[in-house]
């Protein structure tokens, strides 16, 4: 399984903070395309969003990053702390 997390505006727009998904994806990009198929909101937030930030297992990642069972994948907007 994959642990998928959504933070900040993504959590609000997508209506969830966390979900478990089967580990059926070779890369983040494959996962994103499947999530985008859920509808317009998901497509806008995840596929057509230049500002999408990605982390895999707490490290900055990108669409080409490989993922495997047990990984934690997070999607969020640009950070604004400090």
């Amino acid at each position: 399984m994959l642990n998928v997390l959504y933070f900040a505006s993504f959590r609000e727009i997508l209506g969830q903070a966390q979900e478990q998904l089967p580990a059926d994806y070779q890369t983040v990009d494959c996962l994103l395309k499947d999530l985008a198929a859920r509808g317009e909101t998901w497509q806008q937030a995840l596929l057509h969003n230049q500002n999408l930030q990605i982390a895999v297992n707490h490290d900055v990642a990108n669409r080409q990053t490989a993922i495997k069972a047990g990984d934690e994948v997070a999607f969020f907007p640009p950070v604004t702390g400090g």
């Binding site: 505006s9 707490h58 907007p77 640009p78 604004t80």
Partner: protein, 160 residues
């Protein structure tokens, strides 16, 4: 999420509680005699952002990734400026105008290194640590704070 009494990263605190600058500076210096310079940065909640009055600022973060990202920034600062000690505190949850949000404290033998390291840590924290701010305006409207291009520019100035 409150401060873990036995944290994996003892020099990083993500906490709801406020902090006291003197106490933190003393902790930082404890056990180090060869310190000549202590620089601290405290970020506070401004009552105005993007021209609007702000009533509440709420901070969300990504537990686990935050600590890892901050520790990476901290260790790079030690590597580049030979610090004697450093400490980062970032608060989460609801805050109000004038509240303290974040503290970076660094100690080194000479001032030059301490100034650069504290500035570097803050610039990297702003663009690399997974925190997000949401503002509540006086009419109750909420909005997520937009990332600033100027923060990205500030970060890029430290490229080696």
């Amino acid at each position: 999420m409150t401060h873990n009494p036995e944290p994996m990263f003892p020099h990083i605190c993500i906490q709801e509680e406020d902090f006291d600058l003197s106490t933190e500076a003393a902790k930082l210096r404890e056990g180090h005699k060869d310190i000549g310079a202590v620089v601290t940065f405290v970020g506070t909640v401004r009552d105005i952002n993007e021209g609007d009055e702000v009533s509440i600022l709420e901070l969300e973060h990504y537990p686990g990734m935050t600590e890892k990202a901050l520790e990476k920034i901290r260790l790079e600062a030690h590597d580049r400026w030979h610090l004697e000690a450093s400490h980062i505190i970032h608060r989460i949850g609801k805050m109000y105008p004038c509240d303290q949000i974040v503290m970076v404290a660094v100690a080194s033998r000479h001032r030059e290194n301490a100034f650069h390291a504290a500035h570097f840590i803050m610039d990297y924290l702003k663009t690399n640590a997974p925190f997000w701010k949401k503002e509540t305006l006086p009419d109750g409207a909420e909005r997520w704070v937009d990332a600033r291009v100027s923060d990205k520019e500030a970060e890029s100035r430290w490229a080696k």
